[in-house]
Structure formats: structure tokens, C-alpha cells
């Protein structure tokens, strides 16, 4: 049996030429050629419709930002909160940070335009501690990374970290609601310092936002949590 030539099928499908009688006869008998022709016709029809969709405008950028922020939240949710709590039980209580040798001068640095105050603690501070937390590394972070947190009665939080992995971005401190880790408060960044004091926004409920989280944030202009948590620990009074 002489099947229809592929070139011929395409010409027929594009309605560029009409079927010859012998071709019609063959198509009536040959399911294979008939299917080929039908499918090429379908494709030709779809091809003509492609004009409507071949140059679609890109979706708005804000849509991507919304996607990105949803993804940031799902990644924070994925981080193992309970796992950390278990690890802390087996860990020996971390050494209280040793009193610093009195610094020659307490440099007080207020950075204009930001609410972050970095301060070299000089050991003379005697504020009442209202809550503290020991920060432990997440499983992806080297086991010797650690930190400690003290919340002072004046509403400031002292954070002391060591052995954090290097970052090309910066380390940011958050307070998370462990019952719903998508809810969080950004406190500020560590600015490459092992010890900083950050103000806790007035009115923050530390019974709810009791999970302290230090994350690695890229310089991508995205203010949401990167999902890359390094240290975590729960505040207790």
C-alpha cells in the first residue's frame, strides 16, 4: 500500500492543496494516514492560534515578590523547631559568658537613620534580666556555632554569638512565634559583631514571640526571612 508522503500530508493539513481522488480513497482505507492527517490538521489549527499567545506580556513583578515572600514563609515553617528543643535537653548548659575585662572605653555607636544600637558591653551593666535563651545551631550549621540572649528590663536584647558561618550577606535576628513560625518580628542585624544590643519593639509579646532566630540573609533587598536559619533558642524567664 502506498502511504501518503509526509510533505503531502502537511500540505493537505495546511489546506494549501486539495486531496486527489486516489488520496481520498487511500485515506478512507488507511487509519494510519488518516490519523496523521487529522493530527497535522489539529497542529496547524493550534499553530494559527499561537499568534494570540506567542508574545504574552510578562506578569507583573509584584506577583513574583508575592511568590517569593510566600516561599520565604514556607521555608521558615519547614525549619525543625521541635528538633532543636530536643537537642537542647542533651546539651550541657552553655558557659555563662564570662565577664569582660573592663573595656578601656565603652564605645557607644548610634547609627543615624537606623534603630539599631551597637554597643560594646563593658561588664558594668547591671540591668535586670527578664528573659534569656541559649541559641543552638540548626542541623545544617557547624555544631560549635552558638549564642546566648538576655532580654533586659529596659526592653533591649543582648545577643552574643560565636562561630557563626561566614556570610556574603548578613546575620539577622528575629523573634518567632513557635506555634506559627510564619509570624515573626525582625529585630536587626549583627553587623559582623559577636555581641550586639538590639531594641525589642515596644509591645512585643515575648510569651508568644519567644523563639529567637538568627538567620543568614542575602543582600537581595528582600526584607522577609530568607528561610536560612542558623541558630535558634527559646526565651525563658
Amino acid at each position: 500500500m502506498q502511504h501518503l508522503d509526509p510533505d503531502r500530508l502537511v500540505l493537505l493539513a495546511l489546506s494549501e492543496e486539495q486531496e486527489e481522488l486516489t488520496e481520498s480513497d487511500h485515506l478512507a482505507q488507511c487509519a494510519g494516514c488518516r490519523r496523521d492527517l487529522d493530527e497535522f490538521r489539529e497542529v496547524a489549527g493550534l499553530g494559527a492560534e499561537c499568534q494570540d499567545v506567542h508574545d504574552l506580556p510578562p506578569p507583573p513583578e509584584r506577583l513574583w515578590r508575592a511568590i517569593e515572600s510566600d516561599i520565604g514563609r514556607t521555608r521558615v515553617r519547614e525549619a525543625p523547631v521541635t528538633d532543636l528543643a530536643e537537642r537542647r535537653i542533651h546539651r550541657k548548659p552553655s558557659r555563662r559568658w564570662a565577664p569582660l575585662i573592663a573595656a578601656a572605653a565603652a564605645a557607644v555607636l548610634a547609627i543615624a537613620g537606623t534603630v539599631t544600637i551597637d554597643r560594646v558591653l563593658d561588664g558594668r551593666r547591671t540591668e535586670t534580666v527578664t528573659a534569656r535563651a541559649t541559641l543552638s545551631p540548626l542541623p545544617t550549621v557547624s555544631a560549635d556555632a552558638r549564642g546566648s540572649v538576655r532580654v533586659l528590663a529596659d526592653g533591649e536584647m543582648e545577643i552574643d554569638v560565636s562561630n557563626l558561618p561566614l556570610t556574603t550577606g548578613f546575620h539577622e535576628v528575629w523573634l518567632l512565634d513557635p506555634d506559627d513560625p510564619t509570624k515573626m518580628v525582625a529585630l536587626g542585624n549583627l553587623s559582623d559583631r559577636p555581641r550586639v544590643v538590639l531594641p525589642v519593639p515596644p509591645g512585643t509579646d515575648l510569651n508568644r514571640f519567644r523563639l529567637v532566630d538568627v538567620s543568614d540573609e542575602p543582600h537581595d533587598g528582600n526584607a522577609t526571612h530568607s528561610g536560612n536559619s542558623l541558630l535558634r533558642g527559646t526565651l525563658t524567664s
Binding site: P6, D7, V10, L11, A13, L14, E16, R34, R35, D38, E39, F40, E42, V43, A44, L46, G47, A48, E49, C50, Q51, D52, V53, H54, L56, P57, P58, P59, P60, L63, W64, A66, I67, E68, D70, I71, T74
Partner: protein, 192 residues
């Protein structure tokens, strides 16, 4: 341009940039499908958003052996559209709208048809430049082989082979990836 395989691998590794690439490549198609099915831009943008978030959280479920990234994304988007129409129906405020939306008056506008169109358009965009131009002249401008040859200056034989190869590529992709095939059983024994 990285292949779907590469993108899938990066997605599975948790590379957010791969999702961005997928969004740049296929976000417009997802939005188009959603808007066609929902008939409303705001809802279509919502569906596009949840589609890419679902693609991210469900990224382990994408298997490049079973279809292209585009058809996988369009499949998610269709399910999200259905979810949305159902919840709207549950709310009962839009039952009537839903009914009319699910039964489009123009029967070329079935979800399958729209998906097929997007899949074929995507494949058309992947063809070698000269092949693609030749097919566009045939499809969009309804030119015959000799007319295309005259317009492009390509020999008639070249035009013929471009069109034959191009059509074969589009057909193959449509068979692998098209909604019409995906929703029925794939394969050559398609009901006529």
C-alpha cells in the same frame, strides 16, 4: 537556556533561582491560562501566585520524563482554578458565574484547548529560528510554500523541509505534552 532537566534538578535541590527562571519562562502562560478560565485578572493573578508557590513546595513531584515543566505548571494551575471555582461555588455567591464559566460558549476555549495552544506555542518558540519564521508565515499569514519562498528568499525545497520538520516537532510535543493527550491515555491510539 537551561533545559527542563537542569531546571528540575536545581528546583529539587532547593535553588530558588530555578523557580525564578521557570517563572520568567512560563509565568505569562500560567497567567494567560488562569485568566482565560476565570475571566478575571485579579483571580488569575492569585492563581498564578499559588501555582508557583505550590510548584515550589511540590517540586519533588516534577518528573521531566513525564512532561515538560510548562505542562506540569499548567496542570497545577488548572487544579488551582478548579479549586477556586469550587470554593466560589461553596460560597454560593457565584454559583451562576461558575456555571457559565465551566461551560464556555466557544467550545474551542476548553481548558484542554488553551493548554494545547500554550504547549504548541512554547514548542514553536523553541524551534530553530528559520524553521519558526517559516511556520509562522504559514500559520499566521496563511502563505503557501511558494509565497513563503518568495518572501524569505529561501529555496522552495528548504521551505518544504522546514515546514515538514517543524510540523513534526510541534506534533510530537503536542502528543507528549498536550492536555488532550494528557487527560486521555497517551499514545497513538487516540479516539477519532
Amino acid at each position: 537556556m537551561s533545559s527542563d532537566d537542569e531546571l528540575a534538578e536545581r528546583l529539587r535541590a532547593g535553588d530558588e533561582k530555578a523557580l525564578r527562571t521557570a517563572y520568567e519562562r512560563h509565568g505569562a502562560a500560567v497567567l494567560y491560562l488562569a485568566q482565560r478560565l476565570l475571566g478575571n485578572r485579579a483571580d488569575a493573578e492569585d492563581v498564578t501566585q499559588v501555582t508557583f508557590v505550590a510548584a515550589w513546595t511540590g517540586r519533588d513531584g516534577y518528573d521531566p520524563q513525564r512532561g515538560t515543566l510548562l505542562s506540569w505548571l499548567l496542570g497545577i494551575a488548572r487544579r488551582k482554578v478548579v479549586d477556586r471555582l469550587r470554593s466560589a461555588a461553596r460560597d454560593d455567591r457565584a454559583t451562576e458565574t461558575v456555571r457559565t464559566q465551566l461551560a464556555p460558549s466557544d467550545d474551542r476555549e476548553t481548558p484542554e484547548r488553551i493548554v494545547d495552544r500554550l504547549v504548541v506555542a512554547d514548542e514553536l518558540g523553541r524551534l530553530p529560528e528559520e524553521q519558526r519564521r517559516t511556520l509562522e508565515l504559514a500559520f499566521y499569514d496563511d502563505l503557501t510554500h511558494p509565497q513563503i519562498s518568495a518572501v524569505t528568499g529561501l529555496p522552495l525545497g528548504t521551505v518544504k523541509s522546514h515546514i515538514r520538520r517543524g510540523m513534526a516537532s510541534l506534533r510530537r510535543r503536542w502528543e507528549v505534552d498536550g492536555a488532550a493527550f494528557g487527560s486521555r491515555s497517551a499514545g497513538p491510539s487516540r479516539a477519532l
